[in-house]
Amino acid sequence: MAAHVVTISSGKGGVGKTTTTANIAVALAMGGQKVACIDADIGLRNLDLILGLENRIVYDLVDVVEGRCRIRQAMIRDKRLPELYLIPSAQTRDKSAVSPSDMVRLCDELRQEVDWILIDSPAGIERGFRNAMAPADMVVVVTNPEVSAVRDADRVIGLVEAEEKGPARLVLNRLNPVMVKRGDMLAPDDVLELLAVELIGIVPEDDTVVVSTNRGQPVAMDAKSRAGQAFQNIARRLKGEQVPFMDLDEKKGVLGWLSRIARAGGD
């Protein structure tokens, strides 16, 4: 087995890197793939929360790098899915605890064991970003349809190109079709015109994401959620399948929104 190492990055914080990482991982694992996620955001550990695995952390990434445990011991298996593992980051250390070559070594060791390695990059373009980028075969850049996020995505895409990590792929997260229609939000075409990279997913803004994040139950597990569906589609596109983009038109958006309200109220 030789895994694909995919780094999920964005430059700007808060656009949904960690949510995207968790959901792509879940979607790939639901499709029968063996997946390991690595949280490279040392000091600001989050991926474990979103995957709902916080209470099971014994060893973390820094323990592996500093030789206090074997890589297997730090891999937390998600019990809901057959083959999903998390290597959590350390909360009490900082980015300098790990070097880019440590990350390359760790991923090389892991490559033999799994099909996919997803690395959740920290925000920014400093040390933590370099760590996350070093072992990547492919980079997925997450952005939101707003100018500041797009500007930062452009910067990151430029850095990815400079590092010769191949063309970055884009996930446009938290798109609100109603606002786009009103002309109050950047449309996917506006974003793509500037960034000029391959789009592998548009995730509609969806309240269920917040709920599922708080519960540690990634939205990709919810077959009814539109955001969950979008993440499922992204996972399939990563595997090389041709999946048409979801219809995000207004009518469906409103209906979906109403049904979500009904569901949230019923819970």
Partner: protein
Amino acid sequence: MDSGVNLQIKGVRDGLLIAVGEGEWPAVLSAILDHIDARLAFFKGARLTLEVGNRVLHAAELGTLRDRLSDRGVTLWAILSSSPVTEQTAQVLGLATRIHAPRPAERERERERERERPASFRPLDTNLEGDNAILVQRTLRSGFRVASHAHIIVLGDVNPGAEVSAGGNIIVWGRLRGNVHAGMDGNENAVVCALELMPTQLRIADMVISLPGRRGKIQPEMLSLRNGQVVIEPWNPKEK
């Protein structure tokens, strides 16, 4: 001068110019440094242009010169030479190889010299030498910067957050949305051309120009200064 090397020092618009006479390069180098050492207070902080005639100089020689000068607080920024090898070496080291157009009197003298030259040495009138320019064959994304004292041509877009600064003109075969500065050494005749001219900020020489929201259809345009006024002309093939 004891070394027997003839040095001529002139003030030019961009700083000081030293024209070097005949002599072996090591002798010339020490003559220049001796000359500067003797007048350190005068040279300190100067921007220096060196005219070396048709000497062939290599990167090591120019690099040493630049480092020795910077030890003395003098910035070497341009090398003028009639040798293409030397010019290329200078460009590789990031030095300019052209300074501002000579003053009218000098130009007149040059023309006179041209006329005196035997006809056989004069190049054909249809062979133009052209100016130095650098070509950037990629899209400049946010955070990227290109700067050169020559002209700059970008084959790709200039995205918001990218910067292009040129001593001469800037030509973008793509969308121009970032920051550009043409004629950064004070050349008000510099122009900026782009297929889509929508810069975040644009400067020509010392003038900062912000274009209000662009109206009308998007088309290739050229922006220049005429008597201090900003002029934007569409490039219309039918009119040419």
